[in-house]
Symmetry: C2
């Protein structure tokens, strides 16, 4: 199983240019590839990152401003042209289904695969997806229009069997393994208790990722994203443009760092930079004054959650 990681496809705001790509990222968690937002050009960035389209099954769209979803219709269309049959699940604000449907209506396209639209409209935290290994929650954000961030949490794993030790105890049968994985001690025929920790190893660490973009400086998210391993928090502006951030429903690098500090996250990634700042290292420097483990995200770079 590959390591849990986040690959940035685009981390700029509003207008795509030759070098700046709007928001899109791939979270690889427990073998699944989650696409989060899908700005124009996402499919080309996916190719550059060598991520196979067919691995993407769940797509999360934060809100319906163009720089977060204008690449989606093209990506779905490409899925169709490549002969995809596997279903796609799209978690997005109400409205996206209508937008997608009207495109395919006028091109008279009958998709070869199903799209399952999970339309979001609640302003409260919701669990929106769950697999055997991962669960996903909305993070209600504060922006100019209805917007959600997303919290991805790995589920606790069972303890790993320590076969070297288990084989030393002849009375342990295969039927006992499940209880050992669940952390239970073992009782021999003679009534001797062997503590679980002698027969099993710790499971891999449980990791979590919070995506928060776009949003104003917004304290209610802190409780929900507490202690996450990686927080991506938008920083459209620098502190000197805080007025502009307030007016447009965005945050500064300074504010993103304050959120990270209060939530005691392990690492902060910045992004959604305004195109007016060509050197996005300035965002990192500003945030570092408040929160040390911070990095300004870069297109096509992969960040590992357990590092």
């Amino acid at each position: 199983m590959d390591k849990t990681s986040l690959t940035i496809l685009g981390c700029h705001s509003s207008i795509p240019t030759e070098k700046f790509y709007p928001t899109a990222q791939i979270l690889e968690m427990k073998g699944a590839f989650f696409l989060i937002d899908c700005g124009e050009g996402t499919q080309v960035q996916l190719r550059k990152a060598k991520i196979k389209f067919n691995k993407i099954v769940h797509i999360f769209i934060s809100h319906l401003h163009g720089d977060h979803f204008f690449g989606l219709i093209g990506l779905l269309s490409t899925f169709h042209l490549l002969g995809r049959e596997k279903s796609v699940y799209i978690y997005a604000p109400k409205g996206l289904k209508e937008i997608i449907d009207v495109h395919f209506k006028w091109s008279y396209t009958r998709l070869k695969f199903c799209i399952d639209h999970i339309e979001l409209s609640s302003k409260k935290l919701e669990k929106i997806m769950e697999t055997e290994k991962v669960e996903v929650y909305t993070i209600p954000l504060k922006h100019r229009i209805y917007t959600n961030g997303f919290l991805f949490k790995e589920k606790p794993c069972h303890r790993k069997l320590n076969m070297k030790e288990i084989k030393k105890i002849s009375s342990i049968k295969i039927e006992d393994y499940k209880n050992l994985q669940l952390g239970k001690d073992f009782r021999t025929k003679e009534g001797r208790i062997i503590p679980n920790y002698q027969l099993t190893l710790d499971p891999p660490k449980i990791l979590s990722y919070a995506f928060c973009s776009d949003t104003s400086y917004y304290f209610p998210i802190i409780e929900q994203i507490k202690y996450v391993d990686l927080l991506y928090h938008e920083s459209t502006f620098l502190k000197k443009e805080e007025d502009r951030a307030i007016k447009t429903g965005h945050s500064t690098a300074n504010q993103a760092a304050c959120i990270a500090k209060k939530a005691q996250v392990k690492k902060l990634l910045l992004g959604h930079y305004s195109n007016r700042f060509p050197n996005f290292k300035a965002f990192e420097e500003e945030a570092k004054e408040i929160f040390d483990n911070v990095e300004a995200s870069e297109p096509l770079k992969t960040y590992y959650l357990d590092e």
Copy 2:
């Protein structure tokens, strides 16, 4: 005034990749910049070609398959974000207005500029636009869905005044210039006739451009595009895949050349290549067997119509 020219932004079909861009081109004619089709990534290609967004006023969309318009909503959104106030005129099949409106409805965007939708639905040739210097007609094409090509024709210009000769005749007044430009002879007070050709110069050559994509091999267009200076005709496939061309409503390079030859055009440009042919010079070679003045179009290359 700049020369009449065509700049290719994208000339591939269906799926955008790192190197292949779907259909989009800019025709510069008599000082106007006409955008023809607008596949995903067009706004980035416009930046690379250093074409100012504000120069684009008239946009022509051939049909509602994604590789011909998925970049349009992003471009319009960028116009808005850049503070555009000048109106945009969009000539496109019925349906595009609904697609654009639904996007801006859900993003709660009130555009700062007007979009004037000229919705096309006739299957007959129509004059759809006219300025003082240019007129544009639809070229009804044969494809899987309703599709138009476009014929751009410069209007005849007045003759140019030959000021060196005019100044030799003291009785010619400024009020007489208009008649001279219209080709009339001049009669002096003494009744002497000075023929027009002695006082004026030939006007610039009238140029015409025909865009035909996407289309099957379709003879009815020949009459309409006869003698154009430049014909862009799709050639999605090579001759060896003629069956596939018929099935999908496209043409081969060989067929595009036959159309060019029958229509006696001055030059043929090929495009809309299937991604399965990475070397698009093969299209040019195939067409050259039938029609000599042919070129396989390339992204970001400019072709001059009076060369």
